[in-house]
Amino acid sequence: MNGDDLAGPPSAPAGPLEPWPDTVRWQPISPDLIWVELIRLGVLLAVLLIGLGLGWAFSGQWLFGAALGVVVLLAGWRAATIVRAVHAWGYAEREHDLLVRHGLLVRRLSIVPYSRMQFVDVSAGPLERAFDLATVQLHTAAAASDARVPGLRPAEAARLRDRLTALGEDRAEGL
């Protein structure tokens, strides 16, 4: 994966993730999400390292050492991608639908009409709250739809939620 088309800031000229540059104004999410993700990764890494380290110390198996090295390498690679993955998240509100794009290795763009919205989730875990962030998720009747926007400031999350519910109520349709 060579992310040359992602090197620039997300609002840069049309890349493959930005299909309709003239009609869509992409909003980036807060870069603070990088820290949240890094801390999550760090916690996971610490747990793994302690487990593997104890195993190594008690059994003396060299395999544990090798696993330790692999885990550290993977974590380093993941940390590098987290930064770019967070920059790759974006959302845009159009007249009739919400666009959400994310993903580095596998890139995804979701187009969800407001009228198809069943309910909106706003959630914020302890770590997200510590960084003053929230996640908005839009649910449709289709289980496959994924329209999740993490890393929003609470004010922006509330605005998005209110706007989505207002638009959804206006245009709600049966299945």
């Binding site: 890139r107 069943q118 349709e173 299945l175």
Partner: protein
């Protein structure tokens, strides 16, 4: 959207009246006869007395549990405790189940209030389920063998949002079930015109409307013989027999277990034959009526505008007869129910192309199965799909989006624009190298339709076009409503 217990999730604006079955109020008496309405607040618009299920239903439930008990005790228990004790254990357990069934029957009631069906149940944990009928997707009348002998039927409702079948009302009299089905469908909106005046008092749910197709039972049998299970069974039998002959051990348990295992393998084709026996398809005004089953007859009624996707499958072994199978996805039958027996999604168990075309045209008006404008992905997609590049394809028709896939088992999925919930574009790393992308159209229920490995520019165009057409189709759908 699947979250454990089956609670119909009312939309935010739904007026929820306090429910008499709520745990908090469980202490106050609930006399068997004078069913009280919801306490407090203004009385609901069109309250009617609660109705009980058919008095024979506990007996049927008890008989059903007898089968379960025997299966649960299994062969090994039988050989360990002897027949007398086995029969006694089964009888005691089944009797207990029957007593419970009587109690639950006594405390179960249903009625239609306004635009919802309320089902009250439970003795200790009272529960009232209010099922909004706007969200009704399909109604099914199921008659297991015992119910057929006693003239009863079970009514099942599919409501979107519930992870599983809502409110199986088991059991009702047949006439009662047919009448209730008619009422429910009428309340559910867009009442089918042909339903109001005729039939309903007749003992059997009388087929009104136009017969679309009847599957010949001989075809059904042949089609199920042309499945891998039936094909491979002789080899399995030969293997087991040689095993036995070489070891020379013929204990009762071994033989019984082998037979059970054999039955397990054959279960699917045999079930298909039993389930799809006498398959008939009727169109009744705006609804589609699917009727099938030998031992257990099912009559499924689906309003046509509830059809989410139609899937067409050409199994490999059926190609010699150029047969196909049609499936129908309705919102509500979610992936939470993997048992395909309880997912009544059959539209045509077996048929030739002409029949398939006819049925598809009836279900999705204006769609011609053989004339769908499907185009294969660009040539460079062969790096990703060396074998199946020419087998996959996708295209936009006037009213539907269609995509085909599969080399050995060819499949085609069709979704009407008006039923598309969301559109997604995904691009994996290899696809990025080749400047390809996959476009998914998600539907409620079923897996949706995906156009794999389209050229990137075409994929964006497809996504934009799908979004626009879905929007326009919903608008057009809405107008007659309002």
């Amino acid at each position: 959207m699947s979250d454990g217990p089956a609670d119909p999730r009312p939309p935010a604006h739904w007026p929820t009246a306090p429910q008499p079955g709520a745990p908090g109020t469980a202490g106050q008496g609930w006399p068997g006869h004078g069913w009280p309405g919801p306490p407090g607040v203004a009385p609901p618009p069109r309250a009617e007395p609660r109705q009980r299920l058919h008095p024979l239903s506990p007996a049927l439930h008890g008989a059903k549990s007898l089968v379960v008990v025997i299966a649960g005790l299994s062969w090994s228990t039988l050989s360990r405790v002897g027949f007398g004790w086995f029969a006694a254990m089964a009888a005691v357990l089944a009797l207990g189940a029957t007593v419970l069934a009587v109690i639950s029957w006594y405390n179960t009631g249903y009625h239609i209030v306004g635009r919802e069906l309320r089902v009250h149940e439970g003795l200790i944990w009272r529960r009232t389920r209010a099922i909004p009928l706007e969200r009704l997707q399909a109604v099914e009348v199921v008659r297991p063998l015992l119910a057929q002998l006693t003239g009863l039927a079970e009514l099942r409702l599919e409501v979107v949002g519930g992870g599983k079948t809502e409110a199986p009302l088991a059991y009702l009299g047949v006439a009662e079930a047919a009448a209730l089905r008619k009422r429910l469908l009428a309340v559910a909106g867009r009442p089918p015109e042909a339903v109001a005046p005729t039939a309903g008092q007749a003992a059997a749910p009388a087929p009104a409307g136009r017969r679309l197709h009847t599957v010949r039972n001989a075809d059904l049998l042949v089609s199920q013989l042309l499945t891998p299970q039936a094909f491979l069974l002789p080899f399995g039998v030969a293997f087991v027999v040689t095993q036995f002959l070489s070891q020379g051990s013929w204990s009762f348990i071994a033989v019984a277990s082998t037979l059970t295992a054999m039955a397990g393998v054959l279960l699917q084709p045999v079930r298909r034959v039993l389930d799809d026996w006498g398959f008939r398809l009727d169109r009744d005004g705006d609804t589609l009526r699917v009727r099938n089953g030998l031992l257990e007859t099912r009559v499924q009624t689906v309003p046509l505008h509830r059809v989410q996707t139609v899937g067409i499958t050409w199994p490999l072994l059926w190609r010699m007869r150029s047969w196909l199978r049609l499936r129908l996805e309705v919102a509500g039958y979610s992936a939470a129910e993997p048992d395909d027996r309880n997912r009544p999604d059959r539209l045509l168990p077996v048929g030739d192309l002409r029949t398939g075309e006819l049925v598809v045209a009836a279900v999705l008006p204006g769609v011609r199965l053989t004339a769908l404008p499907l185009t294969p992905p660009p040539r460079r997609a062969r790096w990703l799909r060396p074998l199946s590049r020419s087998a996959i394809g996708a295209g936009l028709d006037d009213r539907v989006f269609a995509a085909r896939s599969g080399v050995l088992t060819r499949q085609l999925a069709i979704v009407p624009y008006a039923r598309i919930q969301s559109v997604r574009v995904t691009q994996g790393p290899a696809q990025r190298r080749l400047r390809l992308a996959t476009v998914h159209a998600d539907t409620a229920g079923g897996a949706g339709v995906s156009a794999h490995d389209r050229d990137l520019a075409e994929a964006w165009e497809l996504a934009a076009e799908l979004t626009a057409r879905a929007h326009a189709a919903r608008r057009a759908d809405e107008d007659p409503h309002a």
